[in-house]
């Protein structure tokens, strides 16, 4: 009886495991850093996590549809370099908003390129987006070969210190994302997305517009990568073509920890959001536990591997018990 309740729980609430994990990580982090929940520290953390959260949300759509998008880091870099070179440290806010708009268009276009290759030409998503990722990364290097440039200081300040009602800006963004997700997942689009990820052939036979659904996931991923690029530029205030690529795998990790099946069709957005926050907090823990810098990567990776393996281990033990 118990095993049924666990499997039904995880199937119905894919965010259950990431929630448990997040709580554990918060407890550990709060132990090392008692002022974790102070308004200032909370805002400091959340503004750093937000770009990764946005990237993970975009990735979630692609992975729910059964694909994967490893070009998102390249898109982030493009956006970052566009903003840093075109707006400049002494640019006007109007110019900034204009290029935010340009960035969004660029993100959508980049996503559309991926979507065209994967959905219409039916190429392998992992290879395709690996290749386009290089393309985008190369383009970013072309725009800004050496780190530099930047955006007006007041824009950075606005991003870093806006806390309406004392709550960090990132929480409002997350709330908006969750509302949009709730709407999409309760509409026909959501049903179609889950169907395509679950069994594309069956979905096609049932008259689901499979090609368009797949296409849309990459466009959404491109859009959110653009938002992530905007956020990280506002956070750092400067340009660097190498900023995006390392974020790609972290975002995918966040999505997987967040309970989205790599095979597609299972999961939601809340899990990956928590997964991204968890990964950010793991960074905190590692730095607060005064671990030797040389060990940092190893410790971080170990925690991530354990987090990824846990659901599998739970299933393994459940099978053994029968």
């Amino acid at each position: 009886m118990k095993k049924i309740s666990w499997s039904i729980l995880t199937a119905r609430f894919p965010a259950l495991f990431p929630l448990i994990l997040l709580i554990i990580i918060i407890i550990i982090n709060a132990g090392l850093q008692p002022n974790l929940f102070s308004q200032e520290i909370l805002n400091q953390n959340m503004r750093v996590f937000l770009p990764l959260i946005l990237l993970a949300v975009g990735q979630t759509f692609v992975m729910l549809g059964g694909g994967i998008d490893i070009s998102v880091g390249g898109i982030v870099s493009i956006i970052n370099t566009i903003l840093a070179t075109q707006v400049g440290l002494d640019g006007s806010p109007e110019k900034m908003w204009l290029f935010v708009f340009v960035s969004i268009i660029a993100g959508l276009l980049a996503g559309a390129v991926n979507g065209f290759f994967v959905a219409f030409l039916r190429l392998q998503p992992i290879i395709t987006t690996y290749a386009t990722g290089f393309l985008f990364g190369g383009l970013a290097l072309f725009i800004l070969p050496n780190p530099g440039g930047g955006i007006p200081r007041e824009i950075s300040e606005f991003y870093r210190n806006t806390t309406p009602l004392g709550i960090p800006l990132a929480f409002y963004v997350i709330a908006i994302i969750l509302i949009i997700w709730w709407y999409l997942s309760s509409s026909k689009y959501g049903r179609n997305l889950f169907a395509v990820g679950g069994n594309a052939e069956a979905a096609y036979q049932t008259a689901v517009p499979v090609t368009w659904v797949l296409f849309s996931t990459y466009v959404i991923s491109g859009l959110l990568a653009a938002f992530a690029g905007i956020a990280i530029t506002m956070l750092s205030g400067s340009g660097n073509a190498e900023i995006g690529p390392p974020m790609t795998l972290t975002a995918i990790t966040a999505v997987v920890i967040g309970g989205v099946a790599l095979s597609g069709g299972v999961g939601g957005v809340a899990g990956p959001v928590m997964g991204a926050i968890t990964l950010g907090l793991i960074n905190n823990i590692v730095s607060f536990a005064s671990i030797n810098t040389w060990w940092e990567t190893l410790v971080k990776a170990t925690i991530i591997v354990i987090a990824l393996a846990t659901p599998g281990l739970i299933n393994l033990f459940r099978r053994r018990r029968i």
Binding site: S187, K188, A207, V208
Partner: protein, 510 residues
């Protein structure tokens, strides 16, 4: 509501393979047309042309008198054409309700799916089959958790949920038990009265004669005959389908079997076997015996075979040729000469994209490896394919190039390469055409004569009665009764399957 559809001279190629060379079909409101043909004759392609899943190469499709061209399933669906797919078009991770209403979800003003309406309408649909499924089937269960007959029911409900004008039932009865089939037939009659047109694709002759008004026979992609069902009999139809008669007669070797009863030692003695689904299953099989296992779908027959093969854990005692065995992995079962032939060949039995040779050698590589004896292996494979009368272009061709019946022969062949002592057959003739079935029955008898012991589960009652001397009937994880000799009749088998006890089959129980 009125509809008339006629497909004329349809041609469809898949790469170099001609699936349809001259397909014709007419269907009108208020009638059931049976689309008949051996496996690989183009039935499925024909239905896929009509419902837009594949685009025809040449030919004409007339809907209500005017030509149409379906470029996608969407186009056909919008014109009221629904399909119950043979391979099922369900999304395993999604719930029953979500699956049924996929792309047809009722929405509210904000374009959100109206959950309450979905649930309520799903319950109304489920009520159509009320009482024929075992577990309590709720709209919010994920489809993956359902047994195959319930999945099939969901597939049917999914097709009819948007009140289509034309329904194509492609092997919709293959995994249904007799009670569910009868319920479906009642529904088909009702749809007929409502003016719907129905295309019924099936292998089961008996069902065709029960439900169809007209028939259309395909052979090798050509329509070779059509007419009123009242004007033909079973033999004539089979003749049209395969051009040769008398393949469907069961070869029954009563006398031989009785001799064996006295001589043959007990091969397998199962005592109080239990798994999650099975309860106290006990029986004995003699060497060279063909023991039938029957009952409704999903009553634990599959579990029994899988437990014996070491695929799922069980408790209880199994004595094989005098030794107590307890396999915890199929590897051990294979070493002891067990073989499991699954009916779900696409999923469990074959590597579809790999060659026939590779599939045949899969369980026996150890014998031919290190140093690689590829020629030896090819010779042995040749022997098996010859003895099975496998119709193929060559052993290097992929299994996907074979028809269903021939693919199933490969599944059996790969185990015959190992010279098994015990064969566990899990509904092996599912979706296999009549001609191949006939050959298959001959093969089973031959194997028994060679002293192999066979446990044969089938969802086809006629097959069990025709082929076996003894049938264990399962119900709810238990052996309900054992039928043999004179009490092994269709009536008794059906009664026992449904859990009805009538006096005269009690004596069969051991």
């Amino acid at each position: 509501m009125d509809i008339s559809l006629s497909a004329n001279n349809i041609v469809k190629h898949y790469g170099g393979v001609v699936a349809l060379s001259d397909g014709n079909l007419d269907v009108n409101s208020g009638e059931v047309v049976a689309l008949i043909g051996a496996n690989g004759s183009g039935k499925s392609t024909m239905s896929k042309v009509i419902n837009g899943v594949v685009v025809l190469d040449r030919g004409q499709l007339l809907l209500d008198g005017s030509p149409v061209l379906f470029s996608s399933p969407q186009a056909a669906k919008d014109l009221g054409i629904a399909t119950v797919f043979q391979e099922l078009s369900l999304i395993p991770q999604m719930t029953v309700a979500d699956n049924i209403w996929l792309t047809r979800e009722p929405t509210n003003k904000l374009l959100l799916v109206n959950q309450k309406e979905v649930k309520q309408k799903t319950e109304e649909l489920l009520a159509l089959f009320e009482g024929t499924y075992k577990s309590d089937l709720r709209p919010d269960l994920p489809v993956a958790a359902l047994p195959s007959d319930e999945k099939q029911i969901i597939e049917i409900l999914k097709a009819i949920c948007f009140d289509p004008r034309l329904i194509i039932l492609d092997e919709a009865t293959a995994s249904l038990d007799s009670r569910q089939v009868q319920r479906l037939f009642q529904l088909i009659k009702r749809w007929k009265e409502q003016g719907k047109a129905i295309v019924f694709v099936s292998h089961r002759m008996e069902e065709i004669f029960q439900i169809a008004d007209r028939y259309s026979v395909l052979r090798n992609g050509k329509t070779v005959g059509a007419g009123d069902i009242d004007d033909v009999d079973e033999k004539q139809l089979i003749k049209l389908m395969i051009k040769k008669e008398s393949v469907f007669e069961f070869i029954h070797s009563y006398i031989k079997e009785e001799e064996k009863e006295f001589e043959a030692p007990i091969c397998l003695d199962v005592n109080e076997l239990r798994t999650e689904l099975l309860e106290d299953v006990s029986f004995k099989v003699r060497e060279g015996e063909l023991l039938g296992i029957g009952g409704l779908q999903g009553q634990g027959q599959r579990e029994l075979l899988r437990a014996l093969f070491g695929d799922i854990p069980y408790s209880g005692e199994v004595i094989f040729n005098g030794n107590c065995i307890h396999f915890s992995h199929p590897r051990q079962a294979m070493k002891n000469g067990f073989a499991l032939v699954p009916g779900e060949r696409a999923r469990e039995g074959l590597l579809y994209i790999r060659s026939i040779l590779e599939n045949l050698l899969l369980p026996s590589w150890r014998r031919y490896g290190l140093p690689l004896k590829i020629n030896q292996s090819k010779r042995d494979a040749k022997k098996v394919t010859d003895s099975l009368n496998l119709v193929m272009a060559g052993v290097q061709e992929p299994v996907s190039s074979l028809s269903g019946g021939n693919a199933q022969k490969v599944v059996i062949g790969k185990w015959l390469m190992r010279e098994p002592k015990v064969l566990l057959l899990d509904d092996p003739t599912k979706g296999v055409d009549v001609g191949t079935k006939g050959e298959f029955y001959t093969l089973l008898n031959k194997l028994c004569d060679e002293g192999k012991t066979i446990l044969f589960y089938s969802s086809d009652d006629d097959e069990l009665i025709g082929l076996c001397d003894r049938v264990l009937v399962f119900h709810d994880g238990k052996i309900r009764t054992e039928l043999k000799g004179d009490v092994l009749t269709k009536e008794n088998l059906v009664a026992a399957s449904l859990g009805v006890t009538n006096g005269n089959n009690g004596e069969g129980a051991r």
